[in-house]
Symmetry: C2
Subunit: 213 residues, 2 copies
C-alpha cells in the first residue's frame, strides 16, 4: 500500500511555526527562518516559478521528498487564511496564487464544508469528516504512489498519534523560536521510530525516520 510520508521543517526547540501567527506572518514571529534552507535551493525556486538558486546536499532531499507522491494532505492552517472559520461568500484560495506548486490532488482538513477548488493542475478537496477519511481519499487519488503530509503541526500530530504515518522526515535548522506550534504535542511514547537516514546540509540537518508498527 502507498505510504503516508510526513515531512516538515522544525526548529531545534521543537516548533514548526513561531508565536503570534497572523495573516501577514503566517509562520509566526521568526518562523520564516525555518524554511531558509529550502528557499535557497534551485529545486524550490523552480517549483515556485523563480530562477537561480543553489545546489547542495539539501537538493537531493527536496527532490526525493516530492518524487513518487500522488496526493497531498494539509491542515486548514496551512491552506489559510490565518483567521480560519467559515469560508464565506468570497472564499480564500490559498497562499499560492493561480498556479500552486503542488500539481496534484490536495486534501485540506477543515471543519467547514466547501466545494472542490481547481487552480491550474492542483485540485483542493475540502474534507470535513476527519483525518482517516482524508487519508482514504488521498490514497485513492494517489494510486500506487505515496501520500505527502506537509503540515501544519496539528495535522501531523493527529496522524502520528493515530499511528497512520509510515515515514517522518524532519528538517532541522539551528533556529530557536521559543514558542508557537509544537511538533509532537499530544504524541507520546507509543510512537516507535527507527532512524533511517541523516543528511547534513548547509544550515540544516535532515532526519528521516520509519514508524515501527
Amino acid at each position: 500500500m502507498s505510504k503516508l510520508r510526513a515531512d516538515i521543517s522544525v526548529s531545534l526547540d521543537g516548533y514548526v511555526a513561531g508565536p503570534d501567527q497572523m495573516q501577514d506572518e503566517p509562520l509566526g514571529v521568526g518562523g520564516e527562518a525555518l524554511h531558509d534552507w529550502a528557499i535557497e535551493l534551485r529545486a524550490w525556486r523552480e517549483s515556485h516559478g523563480r530562477e537561480g538558486g543553489e545546489e547542495n546536499a539539501s537538493s537531493m532531499i527536496m527532490e526525493e521528498a516530492h518524487a513518487g507522491v500522488g496526493a497531498q494532505i494539509m491542515g486548514r492552517g496551512m491552506f489559510g487564511p490565518a483567521s480560519r472559520g467559515p469560508w464565506g461568500d468570497d472564499p480564500w484560495n490559498g497562499w499560492w496564487g493561480d498556479d500552486p506548486p503542488f500539481h496534484k490532488p490536495v486534501f485540506v482538513l477543515t471543519h467547514h464544508e466547501r466545494e472542490p477548488l481547481a487552480l491550474s493542475d492542483t485540485t483542493f478537496t475540502f474534507v470535513t469528516d476527519g483525518i482517516e477519511s482524508a487519508l482514504e481519499q488521498a490514497r485513492a487519488a494517489a494510486g500506487d504512489q505515496d501520500v505527502f503530509l506537509g503540515g501544519g503541526a496539528d495535522s501531523i500530530n493527529q496522524y502520528l498519534a493515530a499511528g497512520l504515518v509510515d515515514e517522518l522526515e524532519l528538517h532541522v535548522p539551528p533556529v530557536m523560536l521559543g514558542g508557537g506550534e509544537r511538533l509532537f504535542a499530544g504524541v507520546g511514547p507509543d510512537l516507535k521510530l527507527e532512524q533511517l537516514r541523516v543528511v547534513e546540509a548547509p544550515g540544516v540537518v535532515h532526519l528521516k525516520y520509519r514508524v515501527v508498527n
Copy 2:
C-alpha cells in the same frame, strides 16, 4: 579562554528525562532509552569499569566530548538524590559509588551548603551562589582546558538563557518520551546557533552547535 561545552542526550520530542523521576528511576519513565547509544560503547563501558562494548561512529563523539575537559558542572538533580532538599547528617554521595567516572573537579549547583566531597580522584564542590560563580570556579579549576556541562536540563537551560554556553552538543536517539524535563524551556530566540557538525551513528544522531555571540 576555556569554553563551556554543554552536552546532553535528548529525545526527539525534546526531553532529557521522562515523566515521574524517582529515586529508583532517576531518568523518569522511559528516560534510560536516551542513553542506550552510549552504554553500548566500549569507551563508556571502560570509563565505568566494565568490559566489552562496541566501536561505532559514536565512539569518536564520546572520546571527543571528554577530551580537553578540565572541570565539570552539574545540576543538583543530576547529582541526586531525587528527593533533593537539605543534605542531612548522612548525606548522599552521588549515583556513582566510590569511584565516580569523572576523574576531575565537579561543581554541583545546589541551594544547600555542603563541604566538598572527594571520592577517588573526583572532587565534588557544592556551589550555592549561582551559575556564574560555578562557572568561574570551574574555569579556575580547568586552567587551559574546557568546562563540561552535562545536565540536567534545568542547568543547561539556565546557562543557555544566560548566554554563557559556547558549544552545545545534542545526542538525539529516535525516542519519544511524551513528557518530563524539557530542554530549551525558558530559552528563546535570543539564542543564536551555528550548525557545526552532524554525525549519524547507530540509533542516534549527534548534532553540534556553536553559540554565536
